[in-house]
């Protein structure tokens, strides 16, 4: 039998039981729509995490102090106070393929300006900081090396600080007090948004780390060193060189620092998102299997119902293969139509979710193909047994069937 007439026969058989066909297809629709929606949500989350990791800067390597032990009690990473500005200078001087480097010292202080006060993060950094963090100064300028060396009382502030302290005016050139010390505002950073860990990155005042250590926090160690490798392929070698140099500078003492690359951080973050996507897709996949069982069930009913029709076809010259194809195409049609509608519902549902819940949603084109092919495959698998059963019928028995 020709393919087009087989297709017509299958379509007619499906139309004959419109309600039943629709309910059967609904199993596939729900399955495919669930897969598409779940993967879209998972992908959206993963993309957001990756964007946040990228926003931390490119080719980034961070050096953090190691753990500090006192009387048998061990602190976590960063508890040691061993990282110094000299370490940072040594790295900049000795390690090759470095594009930028900035020490970082942190504190939280009350600031006062314009008659308003605000508690914010005071970060002592180097002039390379905006470059290393991929976080340009939007207006005004960053402080210079000279200002760092001279412990200048200058600062660059983040968007949130501007909103809170200088709501209606240009902050550049104005003075801001940290404790009792006046700092001149040189520039405003571009908005950065929230960090990977959920804190507001724009709620910050950047001052020279030297000024921070001597005037604000009065500490001798630094919280971390951020290093930007020149090229992605330099990251590994820079990491090793930094580790070697710092170990050497500690002269045989236990290494009390920790060097991490951005990649490691990104991997950890996106591994979470990946696990979640897999889990969601797995659950949705189960509903696809359930849909397939529904199709097989209905095809078995259909074969029994149409035993006489099969008998007629076999008696007047249909080969077993013709009957097999007829029922198989019917099953594939049922599941593929369900799959296509499911893709539409899934894509639409994802958009609705992102629109009303504000979830980051990314519809993956590859998964649309996988779902469409998957639903056709489910049709073949679940349609084959009923179709085979139909093809094996004996024409005499089938004609006698009441």
């Amino acid at each position: 039998m020709r393919f087009t007439s087989t297709l017509l026969v299958a379509l007619r058989a499906l139309r004959r039981n419109t309600m039943r066909s629709m309910l059967t297809a609904l199993g596939m629709i729900i399955g495919v729509a669930a897969v598409i929606t779940m993967v879209s949500i998972g992908n959206g989350a993963k993309a957001q995490v990756e964007a946040q990791v990228a926003a931390m800067g490119q080719n980034l390597i961070t050096v953090m102090p190691g753990s500090f032990s006192s009387g048998g009690s061990r602190g976590g990473y960063g508890s040691s106070t061993s990282l110094t500005p000299e370490d940072a200078d040594a790295i900049l001087a000795d390690v090759k393929n470095i594009d930028g480097l900035s020490p970082e010292v942190r504190a939280r202080k009350q600031i006062l300006a314009n008659g308003l006060n605000w508690s914010t993060n005071i970060n002592g950094v180097g002039p390379d900081y905006p470059y290393v963090r991929n976080w340009p100064v939007a207006s005004g300028s960053m402080f210079t090396d000279q200002e760092v060396k001279s412990l200048a009382k200058v600062c660059v502030i983040g968007k949130t600080v501007v909103d809170q302290v200088f709501p209606n005016e240009d902050p550049i050139g104005q003075t801001l007090r940290i404790g009792n010390l006046p700092f001149r505002i040189l520039g405003v950073l571009s908005p950065k948004g929230f960090s990977l860990f959920g804190s507001d990155e724009d709620d910050v005042v950047l001052i020279p780390y030297t000024s921070h250590m001597r005037r604000v926090s009065r500490q001798t160690n630094i919280s971390m060193i951020r290093i930007q490798a020149a090229e992605p392929e330099n990251i590994a070698s820079v990491k090793i060189a930094v580790e070697d140099l710092l170990t050497q500078r500690r002269r045989g003492r236990e290494p009390d620092f920790n060097v991490r690359t951005q990649e490691e951080l990104a991997n950890a973050a996106s591994a979470n998102a990946k696990t979640m996507t897999g889990l969601l897709a797995g659950i949705a996949g189960v509903s696809l299997i359930v849909g397939g069982i529904g199709i097989m069930n209905i095809m078995l009913v259909s074969v029994t119902e149409r035993t006489r029709e099969i008998g007629i076809r076999l008696a007047i010259g249909a080969h077993g293969r013709d009957v097999l194809t007829q029922f198989l195409i019917e099953a594939i049609l049922l599941s593929s139509l369900g799959g296509l509608i499911g893709v539409a519902v899934g894509v639409g549902g994802s958009q609705l979710l992102s629109h009303y819940n504000g979830w980051p949603v990314l519809v993956p084109t590859m998964w649309i193909g996988i779902s469409a092919a998957g639903s056709a495959f489910v049709g073949i698998i679940s349609g084959f047994y009923p179709a085979y059963k139909a093809a094996q019928l004996d024409p005499i028995d089938a004609l006698r069937y009441e």
């Binding site: 007619r12 007629i312 007047i316 010259g317 249909a318 013709d322």
Partner: protein
Amino acid sequence: MSSPVVQIKDIHKIYESGEVPVHAVRGVSLDIHRGEFIALMGASGSGKSTLMNMLGCLDRQTKGTYLLDGIDIDKLDRNELADLRNQKLGFVFQGFNLLARTTALENVELPMLYGRHRKASSEEIRERALHCLEIVGLANRADHMPNQLSGGQQQRVAIARGLVNSPQVLLADEPTGNLDSKTSVEVMGVFQKLNDQGITIVMVTHELDVARYCKRNLILRDGVVVRDAPVDGRSIAAEEMLRIKQAETAAKLTTAAQH
């Protein structure tokens, strides 16, 4: 004389499915020539349906040989048998066996969708199916669904379907079994007309008056042919139809006179 279209030599059919083997056909030999019109008769269990199934290549004999148009069907596999049924045989069943919710025309086209007509264009197939509906006088009902047709009309559609591949033999299994006497005459008229055009017909019936429209009657009992004779004083459907119509008119006149 040309060689017979059906040559059966001492065929047997034994069903082994039950506890006791059933010997349904016990050595039937039969030659059917082109242009014959045969009625196979017999009581229930006489083996006539089994013989019919074997004639129709739906079932295989346990023993003996069956040559259809010179082809030994014992040597054919399942698919080759299907092709043989498609090309050399036409079937008419007691229960009509038309596909539901499929127009008369599409029902008639069905055999051409399988087998050697596979390559024919849909226009050729349509034309051929319409021609066969014309032969049985139903060209004006081509677009009707089976449930919109009377029993006699459905059976005529089934006959048209049996004719569409120009078969060597048209096999009919109790074609009038589900019809009233007048419709039976109508259907037998179609068979007689086809037979007059040279088509070979074999039918199973248990109605004596229906068998009288055929040219040759075979009586089976317990799986053997007990009588094989030409029909004397054969009924002609056209004349019978005329008589029925006159009787109906008369009945109406009588009814009218009572008023």
